[in-house]
Structures are given as C-alpha cells and as structure tokens.
C-alpha cells in the first residue's frame, strides 16, 4: 500500500511533465486546428537551455526556469512565423509535414551543437526527502508537481480573465468572426505559440532536474506521449490536457509497479487507441459539430 502511494507520487511527477507539454498541443489545436509536432523538440531545447544556464554558478533554479521559458517562447514564435504561418491557409497535411520537418531539424541542430551524448544536469539545489506518514516525497518531486500546477493554474486564469485570453477563446470559436470583431489573429496565434512553447520549455528544465538526463532525442517520445495525453483529455481542452498528462504518467508508473516495465512506453499509445475507438473526443472534449 505504501509502495502504491509512493508510485502515485512518482506518477504525478512524471505526469506533470507530460501535462505541461500537452498544454501546448491542445492550445494550438484549439485555436488554429493544427498539431504542432515540434513541441517535443521545444521541450528538449528548454532542457538544454536549462542545462546551459544551470552551469553558471550564479544561476538559481528560478532563473534557469524563467530563462529557458523565455528562450523557448522566442523559439516557438520564430517557428510559427517561419514554418506554420505561410501554411495557415493551406491543407492541414502541409502544416503537419512542416511541423515534423521542424522537429527533425531541431533535434539534428542540437546534435550538431551539443553532441548526441546523454548529459547529466547540474545540481540547482540540494535534494531533501520528506517523510509524510508512511511514504516519502523528495523536494524534486514537490518542485515539479508544484511548478507545473502553478503554471497550469496561471494559464487557466490567463485564458479565463484577461483580454488576450478572451481573444484566444474568440479565435478558437471562429477565426473569421473574431477577426471581424477586431481581434488580431496573427497576434493571438503568436501568443498561443509563445505560451505553449514556454510551458514545454519549463517542462524541459523540470525533467532535467528530475531525471538528471538531457539528450537531443529526448523530445520525440515525450512529445508523442504528451500528444497522446492531449488527445486523451480531449484535444482543445486545457483541463483535459492536464488530466490526460496525469493519466499517462500514472499509467506508465503503474505499469512498472505491476512488472510490465518493458511495455511502459506502449501504455500511452494503447490508451490513445482505446480512447480513439470508444470516445474520440477524449475525456473532456466536446463533440465536434462541424458543418460539412
């Protein structure tokens, strides 16, 4: 039982990272209806940005986190401008292929810059173990779950209560109508990409702290699982992405708990297939009522 409780905490920490990346997928899909398959690589860039920043002694964990987020936000906006904006009016397939191209480019670029080896992550702060009742939680896990929860809450408030948030919601309902009402669509899309990329960047730094390992191809699997999480939660839904991320993280750890660690990467996709078969709109997704 203790063991199970412990595993739930492990699962939540892992799930927080998937959830942060999943938010990017879900926001971009919600607003312009495309899948940005480069989020995994933006996450990887965030992790490397954190690695570089953390190697300076004067940088603390908050500065590393904020610096990486800023860098990935800029990266996200550049990617949108260069690779997606010119294709916004063309078929979804073109945008998808462009996204895959961007993701391959980014991981190859990082191999060129930093080499393909796995690297450890510098220690940003001392680890501590807290014993709560009969189970324990490490300070790394608290930071990961805490920072992820704060970012997600911030995002939720931003979308619900700010003017830009309202513009985002309006754009997601009807781009043309929103544009006629004076919403600057380009700006809204850029902000969406910036926020989604910033969250993925934060996830990268958190994973660096938690797993101690950073390598240029880490984005692929994490990105795919986060995508599965977004679909599971109902793509386009922000709370859905969070729930989806947690479910994927928990299932993965529970898979290890019941001695099925060989299949842990497969769980996310098995769930994805089941969801697509029985409730294609996901847990919190609304049924799409598109005019044909």
């Amino acid at each position: 039982m203790n063991n199970l409780m412990q595993q739930l905490i492990n699962g939540l920490a892992l799930g927080s990272i998937y959830a942060l990346i999943a938010l990017g997928y879900t926001m971009v899909y919600g607003i312009i209806g495309m899948i940005n398959f480069a989020y995994g690589e933006i996450y990887m860039f965030g992790a490397f940005a954190g690695l570089v920043l953390a190697s300076y002694n004067s940088v603390n964990v908050y500065m590393a986190l904020l610096g990486a987020m800023l860098l990935t936000m800029v990266l996200g906006v550049i990617i949108e401008r260069v690779a997606y904006k010119p294709l916004r009016r063309s078929s979804r397939l073109s945008a998808l292929i462009s996204a895959i191209g961007v993701s391959i480019f980014l991981s190859s670029l990082m191999v060129r810059l930093k080499g393909p080896n796995t690297r450890g992550f510098p220690k940003l702060f001392e680890n501590k173990i807290f014993v709560v009742g009969s189970f324990q939680i490490t300070i790394y896990q608290i930071v990961i779950i805490g920072v992820a929860a704060l970012l997600m809450l911030g995002l939720q408030l931003f979308v619900a209560y700010t003017k830009t948030g309202r513009a985002m919601r309006a754009t997601s309902q009807d781009q043309d109508a929103a544009s006629l009402m004076g919403v600057n669509i380009d700006r809204v899309v850029a902000i969406t990409f910036a926020i989604g990329s910033g969250l993925a960047g934060a996830a990268g730094v958190l994973s660096g702290i938690y797993f101690n390992a950073v390598q240029p191809y880490m984005g692929l699997m994490a990105g795919l699982k986060a995508f599965a999480a977004a679909v599971l939660g109902g793509i386009g839904s922000i709370p859905g992405a969070m729930i989806g991320g947690m479910v994927i993280g928990l299932t993965e750890i529970l898979g290890v708990t019941v001695n099925l660690s060989e299949y842990k990467d497969a769980f996310a996709f098995a769930i994805l297939i089941v969801v697509l078969l029985f409730k294609p709109s996901g847990i919190l997704g609304r049924k799409a009522n598109k005019k044909v």
């Binding site: 699962g11 892992l14 080896n117 450890g120 173990i129 797993f211 101690n212 880490m218 290890v256 990467d265």
Partner: protein, 398 residues
Amino acid sequence: MFHRKSKAIVALSFLMVALLVVSGCAGSKSQTGNSTTPADSKEPIKIGFLGAKTGDVAMYGLNTLKGLNMAIEELNKNGGVLGRQVKLVEEDNAGQKDQAINITNKMISQDKVVAIIGDPTTGITRVAGQIANSKKTVILSAGATGTNVVEIGPYIFRDTLLDTIAAPATMKYIIQDKGWKNVALITSKNNDYSVALTKIFTDAIKANGGNIAIEEFIQDKDTDFSGQITKIKAVNPDVIVFSGYYTEGALLMKKAREVGIKAIMVGGDGLQGDDLMKIGGQAVEGSISYAGFSPEQPTANTEKFINAFKASYKNEVPDLFSAQGYDALMLIAQAIKDANSADPEKFKDSLAKTKNYEGVSGTITFQASREPIKSPVYLLEVKGGKFSLLKKVPVEVK
C-alpha cells in the same frame, strides 16, 4: 521547346561521360586487384575499425581507436608487417546496427580490409560477425564480452575478458568476501549485453548463496526510473547489481540516492565509461565493476604501453578499450607474421593457435573454441570520481 531539348541532351551526354569515367575507374581498380592479389602486393595491409565515434557508446569506440592508432604507429615505425605498412580504415557506426552492417559491407567489398577490429559491443559484433564470416574476413572484437560471438564461425575472434569468467568472479567477491547477500538485480531489456549478463549474474548469485530480492527491468534510453527505484527501496537490498551500460547506471544510482538508498551498484564492464562519473557524480561513488585491464600495478609490458600512450595523448592514462584495441591489432599482426601471409583464410588459423600471448591487457590464450581466456580479472571501484583497482583475481588456463 528546342531550348529545353538541347538542355536535356547536354545533361544526358554529361551523364554518359560521367558514367564512362566512373566505370573506367572501377575497371582499372578491379584490374589491379586481379593481377596482384592484395595478400601478396606491397600495398599497405588494410585493417578496418568498426565502432561508434558518436552516440551513447562512443566512449568505447573512441578509446579503442586510440589503442589501434598507437599499435599501427609502432608497427609502421618498425617496418610494418611482412614489409608492408599497416593502414587503418575507420568509420563511425554511432552504435547503430544498421549503420554497422553498411560499414562492414563497405570495408570488406570496397576497402578490401583483411581484418576488422571491433565492434566493442556484443550486439553489433554478432551482426557484423555474420557478414565478415560469410565473406571470409577476420573480425576481432576488442570489447564484446557477451555470449554467442565466436560461435558464428571460424573468422570471428575477440580478445576480451569474458563475462562468463569475470561476472561469476565478481559475484563471488561481493557475496562471499563482502557479505552482501540481498541483491536487487536490474536488467536493461533492450540491450543484448545486459540480458545475457543478467543470466550469468543470476546463476553466480545463486551459486554463491546470494538471494535475488527483486528483479527489475529498464530500457536503454529511459530516463525515468522512479517506479523501479521505489520498488527496490522497499526490499532494502545490500547491493544493486546492474547489468547494463554506464549512462543508465549513472541515472539509476542518482535516482536511488535521491530516495535514500545507500546500497552501491555492482556491474559488468558495461559500466566502464567516464560518463558514469560525469553523469552520476557522488551517486556512483563506490560502484564496483570488473575489467580486463587496469593501469595500476602494471606488468613490464603494460607499463611500456602506458608510458607510450601518455606520451601520445597528452598524459592521458589508457583504459580497457585502448589496451584491448592495441592488443587486437598486435594479435592480428602477429598472426599475419606467423602465417607469412595477409590472406585472412591463412592467418585466421595462426591467430586461432595463439597461446599465452603477453598482451598489455593481460595474458591471452585462445581455446579450441576460439574463446579467449584472459588473466587476471581486475575488480575496479569508483573512488574520488575515478576507477581504481580493488582486487586482481587470477584466472587459470586449463
């Protein structure tokens, strides 16, 4: 219209000329190949290096290469082998099997190497071995320690300390000498080497009266081990036996220390890589692994090698892979001299007869099965961020 057509004609004729030139070259090349077989010519003897220069196991490849280059320099300075210079053909397989297949084929059919040294890992050696054996080219792995390697055929050799000899010696030491009976055993499921080594460890643990309290599985490239480590902590092991490579070993131990596990890690020579300490830091301090080489307490032969190596590589001390790489090339050179021919069909037999060869990485004898027996087994411990000699365990040749 006319314009386009003429362009096409120009392009086509250009292509044909190019083809003629290329085929002409190829023709002349094969002619020289036919008139004087590579075995008898005065051209350099080509030896291929198969291994990773980039990627997760790059450390093995790069260090092997350093040993190879030293051996070649030494041979060529003393007039080469059979009066011919020795030339190394090197390619990077990045630790990937498909790359290794392409490279092995290329080295044999295009570069016409007489022997290939490498790959330092068992999985790739098995794949490359199939090709080399079928094309009658000697392959000598300076690193493969897993099972089912030399069984592939008469052209396959290796000069490494075998897991089947070293792993039981290590388990005997940790269970009987150290008294660590309660073992957590971890295997990397998608790593051939790790899966095979776990089998040897399991038998040796049982034979020495140890108890496998828990058996966990990870995969190479995994970074999240929290699930496995939580389960391992629950059984409170005396020691963590991990059969995989250094990257995952380092990450596992970091996670273990994070949750307060005090047990150290014991593993095979897959843990021998500086990245173990670079990534693992304090968490891998005290880890024990075995190796076929240690620069500490050297024999006269080994000391000469170490000094020459230091002189060539900015005072760097050679590791297992450099020493085995050096020995691999010297073994092949010796075999070519003994057979008085650089034809792999001939010198493979003299190579197979090697007995008590005093290499820099220990004494090497090939059994009838072509499996090497090496002595001694070096148990190394991570101390102050470095591998240092813990114990020398001699191995008897029957």
